[in-house]
């Protein structure tokens, strides 16, 4: 086999109802359902793509946004390569909470160098007419908080969704080149059974 595929774990975080699951489903299945159930627990979908000649399998994790479920959500932050901080442009509060989500992620993902970690910020639901958060406001926040790339997305009409994920991959790959991330650096625990590297599933 000539190509080496990296598995990259990205996690979508943000307030309940900002459209995390919808973004994931738009990207992976190219479908949109306005009445999709709110997420209970944790789910993930995989998506293969090629970015700048790299074969990548994105493992996109989607969690329940309510505060109450924090303790059952945060363990899944570990091992994330990228975090997509998501808010909805028609919901001020979800924008104000971006900082909290970032903090929660950094704390529980146990990020070694938080200032270098690749965050991408998504302002979803740009298809709605009544905005509460302006593009300028969002861009300012991204600049002030670590110069994060910002995308205004619409899971409903697919605006910028694929672009945002591809940018996330680019950021991770750029990190990898610096840190030689493609070689697994995690210490393998000896008492654990080594698992198969090939995910199966229908």
């Amino acid at each position: 086999m000539t190509t080496k595929t990296s598995l990259l774990k990205v996690i979508l975080l943000g307030d309940g109802g900002v459209g995390k699951s919808s973004i994931m489903n738009r990207y992976v299945t190219n479908k949109f359902d306005a009445h999709l159930f709110h997420t209970i627990g944790v789910e993930f979908l995989n998506k293969d793509l090629e970015v700048d000649g790299h074969q990548v399998t994105l493992q996109i994790w989607d969690t329940a946004g309510q505060e109450r479920f924090r303790s059952l959500r945060t363990p899944f932050y570990r091992g994330s390569d990228c975090c997509l901080l998501t808010f909805s442009v028609d919901d001020n509060q979800s924008f104000f909470n971006l900082g909290n989500w970032k903090k929660e992620f950094i704390y529980y993902a146990d990020v070694k160098e938080p200032e270098k970690f690749p965050f991408v910020v998504l302002g979803n639901k740009v298809d709605v007419t009544e905005r509460q958060v302006s593009t300028e406001e969002a861009q300012r926040w991204c600049q002030e908080n670590g110069d994060y790339p910002y995308y205004e997305t619409s899971a409903k009409d697919a605006t910028n969704v694929a672009v945002a994920f591809e940018e996330a991959v680019r950021r991770v790959l750029a990190m990898d080149e610096r840190t030689d991330h493609l070689i697994p650096t995690d210490t393998v625990k000896l008492h654990r059974k080594p698992r198969s590297a090939v995910p199966c599933c229908s």
Binding site: G17, T29, G41, Y108, L182, P199
Partner: protein, 658 residues
């Protein structure tokens, strides 16, 4: 059967309230009188009539309000149509109480008779009737909702204010405008002066006046949820893409995630606190699993046979057992669920239940009024209420939207779902709203088709599920530990496999347990599973055996395919909507019987399934399940299934050796 003069209902609105507490001589401070307001054309005379709910209704002379409550069709009553006793009791109850729903889904019969009321109840003193021609003015006021104060020309005693807690004041004024001229008073723009010119004249004024008063009407505050329910398009197909593996991948080991989850769900630690020491048990031979058969759902006839003439349920153990074995036919659910959930006591008479519903209706609307009357300013200073409301609005839009009861944009089912969840916040403000609760309410509301009944049944269900949603999620942790204990007994090899994949604490069952399989089964299957569960048969925590039954069917695939942590989670998540409830129930019952007949049952398992405790001896296992020996190993179990403190000297942690 009164052959009264011909009259036509022009306008009708239910859920209009009088607040007698504002009345100086009231003794019942808390009483809210709810009733319906009508405009009636009685032989050409236009009458405004307010009628509290207690009025007896003669079903032989009913008019039925159409959907918009202003068109009226004759209710043609076929003799014998409703002769069935059960349906009749339901009918009279529906007639009385459906009226207060903001919306209803069926034809709502209503009394149109006058003067024949049997004023036995104290409340009926709030009934009022006057002719539009007697009206001097209507003052429109707002307090988070709209209320109208009507003044008559010949001022006798002042009329009580009519509170439109469920909207409708605008429609009322609009209907009135067809028969009377309403003009703003020069002194007070909120006061509409009423004059009743002849019909022709009023017609010609109609268009002219519409504009004039529109501004005023327009100011009426709309219910807050209306705005949020719009803007969603039709449901489109939604399919999860299958997970496709690529040729070569490096995967980050999820051990770390698993370790953290293990800390979050400190499974064995809880056991350790309660059960110091170890009980080493070698692999237990459970024997073969008995094959059981499911039966037909309980029919209406069958249910009625379990009812005495006063309406008390009789032979309840047998009835519960029949429900456990086959569930209920759908027509029976609306009534039976109220008993199963404990809203109705099994030994109550029909009369007692009616009284109960009356008082529960008051209680409900009192609580509903509490959040309905919070002004925007108040809410600005109440972040918890604001957060609850915001999340409820979002989740109502995302709950069972493909079900006809909740589909589309302006479906009244959505408004009810919203209102009941908001009212539950007032009922239990500490808990408030937690995601998942809308899933638990939706099937109940679907079955009840009635706001008040659905609320109280939901309250009962939440009593059982409360711990799942609490801050520390203790209910979830306990259940995951219990499930783990059961699985170790039933299938140690599989449990060991899961453990080797860092999945021994069974996190992947989280959604199953949080909302009792609501997302895993088709809607109809959820109804079946829940009614079976609510019989509390055949053991405590039967739902955990349901988990075991599903896992039993999946273990082969999971182990053969050598699924890891992520794949197991994904596989279990994707079982959603692919499960067959009858098959699962059959297997779960078989597992129960299998465990029950085991002689050397570990103590912890007996506790979880209630085989030790005395309360389960009331289990009506009179028929069907073979009498199983109750393995009693410890006598120190409290009725709640927890171990007593003093038992620690001989109780132990169970360790399994394969």
């Amino acid at each position: 059967m009164a052959a009264d003069s011909v009259h036509k209902v022009i306008f009708e609105h239910e859920g209009v309230f009088i607040h007698p507490s504002s009345d100086e001589d009231t003794i019942e401070q808390d009483l809210l009188v709810s009733g319906s307001l009508r405009i009636i054309d009685k032989d050409g005379e236009i009458i405004v009539e307010y009628r509290p709910l207690e009025d007896t209704v003669d079903p032989s002379n009913m008019l039925c309000a159409g959907k918009d409550s202003s068109s009226v069709v004759e209710w043609t009553q076929c003799p014998g149509d409703r002769s069935h006793q059960l349906l009749e009791t339901q009918q009279s109850y529906e007639t009385e109480w459906d009226m207060i729903n903001a919306v209803s889904f069926r034809k709502r019969p209503c009394s149109n008779r006058e003067g024949s009321l049997n004023h036995s109840h104290e409340r009926t003193r709030w009934a009022l009737t006057f002719s539009v021609s007697e009206l001097r003015s209507i003052t429109v006021k707002e307090e988070g909702w709209t209320f109208l104060i009507c003044k008559l020309k010949e001022a006798s005693t002042p009329l009580p204010a009519l509170h439109f807690h469920q909207g409708g004041s605008r429609e009322f004024l609009e209907s009135l405008r067809r028969f009377a001229l309403l003009t703003e008073s020069p002194d007070d723009e909120m006061c509409l002066l009423v004059s009743t010119p002849n019909k022709a004249l009023s017609q010609s004024f109609e268009n002219l006046l519409d504009d004039n008063s529109f501004g005023l009407v327009h100011k009426f505050r709309k219910d807050p949820y209306v705005a949020t329910l719009g803007g969603f398009s039709k449901v489109t197909n939604y399919i999860f893409d299958a997970l496709r593996g690529s040729e070569e991948q490096h995967q980050r080991p999820p051990e770390e995630v698993a370790d953290l989850l293990g800390e979050v769900i400190p499974g064995l630690e809880i056991n350790q606190q309660e059960e110091p020491g170890f009980e080493v048990i070698t692999r237990i031979d459970l024997g073969t699993r008995p094959q059981v058969m499911r039966r037909e759902p309980v029919s209406v006839d069958n249910w009625t046979k379990h009812q005495d003439p006063e309406g008390r349920m009789i032979n309840i153990p047998h009835l519960k057992h029949t429900i456990f074995k086959g569930g209920l036919c759908h027509a029976m659910r609306k009534e039976a669920w109220k008993f199963l959930l404990g809203y109705f006591p099994w030994d109550s008479t029909l009369e007692e239940r009616k009284a109960l519903q009356r008082s529960k209706t008051d209680e409900y609307f009192r609580m509903k009024l509490q959040w309905k009357s919070v002004s925007e300013e108040q809410e600005r200073r109440n972040s918890r209420l604001r957060d609850y409301r915001s999340l409820i609005e979002k989740d109502v839009n995302r709950t069972d939207r493909t079900n006809r009861f909740y589909e589309g944009i302006d479906n009244p089912g959505l408004a009810l779902l919203h209102d009941i969840l908001m009212t539950y916040c007032m009922y239990d403000f500490d808990l408030g709203y937690v995601q998942g609760m809308s899933d638990l309410l939706s099937p109940i509301l679907y079955v009840m088709e009635n706001e008040v009944d659905a609320f109280w049944c939901f309250v009962s269900f939440m009593d059982q599920m409360h711990q799942n949603f609490e801050e520390q999620m203790q209910g979830m942790k306990t259940q995951l530990i219990q499930l783990s204990t059961l699985l170790r007994l039933l299938d140690l090899a599989f449990w060991n496999y899961l453990e080797s994949q860092d999945s021994g604490y069974l996190y992947f069952c989280f959604r199953w347990l949080l909302i009792r399989f609501k997302r895993e089964l088709s809607f109809q299957d959820v109804l079946r599973l829940w009614e079976v569960m609510w019989t509390s048969l055949p053991c405590l925590n039967f739902h955990l055996l349901v988990c075991c039954a599903i896992l039993d069917s999946e273990k082969q695939k999971i182990m053969e395919e050598n699924y890891g942590f992520n794949e197991i989670l994904k596989h279990i998540n994707e079982l959603s909507m692919k499960l067959d409830i009858e098959e699962i129930l059959q297997k779960a019952e078989g597992i129960c019987l299998q465990i029950k007949s085991c002689k050397d049952l570990p103590h912890s398992v007996s506790v979880i399934l209630g085989f030790d405790s005395n309360i389960s001896s009331s289990d009506p296992t009179g028929c069907g399940s073979p009498p199983a020996p109750r393995p009693i190993q410890r006598q120190d179990v409290c009725s709640n299934g927890h171990l007593r403190k003093n038992s620690s000297h001989n109780s132990c942690k169970v360790a399994f050796i394969s």
